[in-house]
C-alpha cells in the first residue's frame, strides 16, 4: 500500500475491497442452465460484477459477493434465474 502524507478516503479496485458482501443476501439467485440462452443480459446488468462469464458465454454466479439484488432475475428473458429466500433453496 502506498503511503500518503494525508489521510482521506481513497480505495484501490480489488476483489472484495468491502469484505464478503454475499453475507448481505436475503434472496439468492438460482440459475437454471437448461433455460439459459447465453444472451449475457445478467452479466451486463449485474451491478456488482458477480455474474461470471465463461469462454462459451455461459454464466455462473459468484455467491461470495452477490448481494441478492435480483436485477439478473429481472432482466433474464427466459426466466432462467429465480430468486429464492436464503436457506430455502433446494
Amino acid at each position: 500500500m502506498k503511503k500518503y502524507p494525508i489521510i482521506t478516503s481513497i480505495s484501490y479496485p480489488k476483489k472484495g475491497a468491502m469484505g464478503k458482501t454475499g453475507t448481505w443476501r436475503v434472496f439468492k439467485p438460482i440459475l437454471d442452465q437448461n433455460k439459459c440462452v447465453k444472451c449475457l443480459q445478467c452479466w451486463i446488468y449485474c451491478p456488482e460484477a458477480t455474474i461470471i462469464r465463461k469462454e462459451d458465454n455461459s454464466v455462473e454466479i459468484d455467491y461470495e459477493y452477490c448481494k441478492g439484488c435480483g436485477v439478473c432475475a429481472n432482466v433474464c428473458p427466459t426466466k432462467a434465474i429465480t430468486m429464492v429466500r436464503e436457506g430455502e433453496e433446494k
Partner: protein, 384 residues
C-alpha cells in the same frame, strides 16, 4: 511589476488567471458576477488557457471543481451568499477529500430580506466545513492572498481547500491600484501542483468511498492536524511574499499599533481597513487603541490572540451573528482566551445587511467602551 487599477472582482480574476488554473467552474451571482465575467474575458483573449466549465448551479460548480481537482490539477472558483449556501454539501466533500481548491467568496447578506450588500454570515455558516478561511481588506490583499492561497492549499501536509472572503461592493466593485508581479515571478512562487493522490485512468482509484466508524475519526483528526500545520505555514508564506514582493498584510492577524495599546479592536474584512483610520484618530486624542484584524479565521489564531490579550482589553466588532450566541469572532476569541487570560471582551454587532461602518462609527463604538458604557454585547446604531 506593474500597477493595475481595478475592482476587487477583476483583481481576483487577474490573480486567479496568473495562477494558471487548469479548470474554473463557476456560476454567476451578485456581487461575484464580475469575477466570473473577468475570467470569461481572459478565456476569450486566450490568457486563460484552462477549461472554463459552464454549470447550472453552485452545487454543480463545486462538484465540477471537486472532480477536476481530484485529477490532480489546479482549480479555482468563486461565489457569494446563497450560492455559497447551495454549495454547502460539496464544501464538506472538497475538504474531506483534501482537495486544494481555491475559491473567492464575496461576503453578501443571506436573505430574506433580499439584500445584496456586505455581511459575513454566508461564510461564517461554512465555518465547520474544514475549509481554510481568509478575510481580506483591500484589493491588493485579494490579489496577494489568491496567489498565496494556492501555495498553502497545495502544500502536501495541508491539502485543504481555501476560501478567500471579501466584502460585497466595498471591495468587489471598488477600484483600487494594485501591484501585479510578473508572470514568471508568480510561476516561481507557485509551481505546478504536485497532488498527493489523483484520479488516473491508467492507475484507477476511487475517492469518497465508504469508511467504517473505526477509521473515520482518523480522517477528521488529520484535517485538524493539517489546519494546525497551516497556522505556521500561512505565516511562512506571508513572510516569503514580503521578502519577494515587499508587501505584507499580516500573517494570521494584521496587527496595527498594538504594542502599547490598552484596548485592541478585533475585527475582519473591510471593517478592519476602516478601523486603521479610527485607531489613528483616537490616538490623536490620546486613547491607546490598537487593531488586530483577524485575517485567517480558520485555522483560528488562538496563540496570537492570547499573546495580544496580555496587555490590552478587546473590543470585537462582528459583521455577522451566530443567532442565539453572538458574534462569531467574539465567541471564538473568548474561547481562545478561556483559561489563558482574563482580558475583558466587549462585543459589537455592526454593519449587518451591508449597513456602512465608517471610521467615525468605529470611533463612536470605541469611545463608548472607554467611557465604561458598554457591558457585554452591543448592537451598533440600533439605539440611535
Amino acid at each position: 511589476m506593474k500597477v493595475m487599477i481595478d475592482t476587487g472582482n477583476y483583481i481576483a480574476a487577474k490573480a486567479a488567471i496568473m495562477a494558471k488554473p487548469n479548470v474554473v467552474a463557476a456560476y454567476p451571482i451578485t456581487p461575484q458576477t464580475t469575477l466570473v465575467e473577468g475570467i470569461a474575458k481572459y478565456k476569450e483573449t486566450g490568457e486563460f488557457k484552462g477549461e472554463y466549465i459552464c454549470v447550472e448551479s453552485e452545487h454543480s460548480a463545486m462538484s465540477a471543481c471537486i472532480g477536476a481537482s481530484a485529477t490532480g490539477v489546479r482549480v479555482f472558483t468563486g461565489t457569494s451568499s446563497h450560492g455559497l449556501l447551495l454549495m454547502h454539501e460539496m464544501l464538506h466533500w472538497a475538504a474531506l477529500s483534501r482537495l486544494p481548491i481555491v475559491m473567492c467568496n464575496i461576503n453578501r447578506v443571506v436573505g430574506p430580506g433580499w439584500n445584496i450588500w456586505a455581511d459575513e454570515n454566508d461564510s461564517i455558516a461554512q465555518r465547520d466545513t474544514g475549509w481554510i478561511q481568509f478575510y481580506v481588506s483591500s484589493n491588493q490583499e485579494i490579489f496577494d492572498t489568491v496567489i498565496q492561497a494556492f501555495k498553502i492549499a497545495e502544500h502536501e501536509k495541508i491539502s485543504l481547500p481555501i476560501m478567500i472572503n471579501y466584502n460585497a461592493f466595498i471591495l468587489s466593485h471598488t477600484s483600487m491600484p494594485v501591484y501585479i508581479p510578473e508572470q514568471e515571478e508568480i510561476d516561481e512562487f507557485i509551481p505546478k501542483r504536485k497532488p498527493t493522490w489523483k484520479l488516473d485512468v491508467d492507475n484507477p482509484i476511487t475517492f469518497g468511498n465508504i469508511i467504517l466508524p473505526d477509521a473515520y475519526i482518523e480522517v477528521r483528526r488529520d484535517m485538524q492536524r493539517a489546519q494546525d500545520y497551516a497556522r505556521n505555514y500561512i505565516k511562512k508564506v506571508a513572510e516569503e511574499w514580503r521578502e519577494k514582493f515587499g508587501r505584507y498584510h499580516g500573517d494570521l492577524i494584521d496587527r496595527y499599533r498594538c504594542d502599547d495599546a490598552e484596548y485592541i479592536i478585533l475585527t475582519m474584512g473591510a471593517i478592519g481597513a476602516e478601523s486603521r483610520i479610527a485607531v489613528d484618530n483616537l490616538r490623536e486624542d490620546g486613547l491607546k487603541i490598537g487593531l488586530a484584524r483577524v485575517r485567517v479565521f480558520r485555522p483560528f489564531p488562538k496563540e496570537d490572540i492570547v499573546e495580544l490579550s496580555k496587555k490590552a482589553d478587546f473590543i470585537v466588532i462582528d459583521r455577522n451573528i451566530s443567532v442565539g450566541m453572538g458574534g462569531a469572532l467574539s465567541a471564538e476569541v473568548k474561547s481562545a482566551l478561556y483559561g489563558n487570560s482574563d482580558t475583558k471582551v466587549y462585543s459589537y454587532i455592526a454593519g449587518l445587511g451591508g449597513k456602512d461602518v465608517t471610521f467615525k462609527d468605529i470611533e463612536k463604538m470605541i469611545r463608548k467602551v472607554v467611557d465604561g458604557k458598554v457591558k457585554t454585547l452591543e448592537w451598533y446604531s440600533l439605539e440611535e
